[in-house]
Symmetry: C2
Subunit: 123 residues, 2 copies
Amino acid sequence: MFTDTFLEVISKEGVVSIVSCSDNEAHVVNTWNSYLVIPHDGKLLIPAYAMRKTEKKTLQNSRVLLTVGSKEVNGHRGPGAGFRIEGTAKFISSGPEFDMMKAKFSFLTRVLEVTVTLLTQTL
Amino acid sequence: MFTDTFLEVISKEGVVSIVSCSDNEAHVVNTWNSYLVIPHDGKLLIPAYAMRKTEKKTLQNSRVLLTVGSKEVNGHRGPGAGFRIEGTAKFISSGPEFDMMKAKFSFLTRVLEVTVTLLTQTL
């Protein structure tokens, strides 16, 4: 599911957006490309420090949208590649994946786990 | 309203997210920092090629959220600054601002005008 272009994009630094939605109100928080960890194909782990509103919203509606891109990677129309990710979110606060992430990112309080259902290269 | 740090961030290349929401479903599209044009403080103009779903959603609910950031600019906690923008969106397809934007970005079909109501430095 994760293509070579996607892996190249997330190897460059940049801003990731994480969009959640409940009560007909969207919310968005950001992380860095370099904070994305792929434990296996189709799953993303993201360190969460605050993200309290995102957590509250995903408890009501677990569906999230993420975007990531880099002008340094060639996409469909020359320089610049971008992706939209659809998935379901879960916040985890214990277990082997939490421990692995805590060792990398000491500031985290929970880990946002995204199970990807669709990866679309938009650019 | 637009701070020096904000102006410095958008002078670096990166990915902007534009989030809209209607029918309890969020939608997100992206543009580049370098595509943001500021005609005057508190307003952003963005070239729109497709963005049809964003346009449809903003006709129902004009409130949008945008995020922008750069790891190259120092923020609240060292390297990396990021902003969340709240505003209202309108798509325009004629007039002096449309003509000015079309001269810069020949590919556009409409211009997304965002009137900013709140700018928050998140990082």
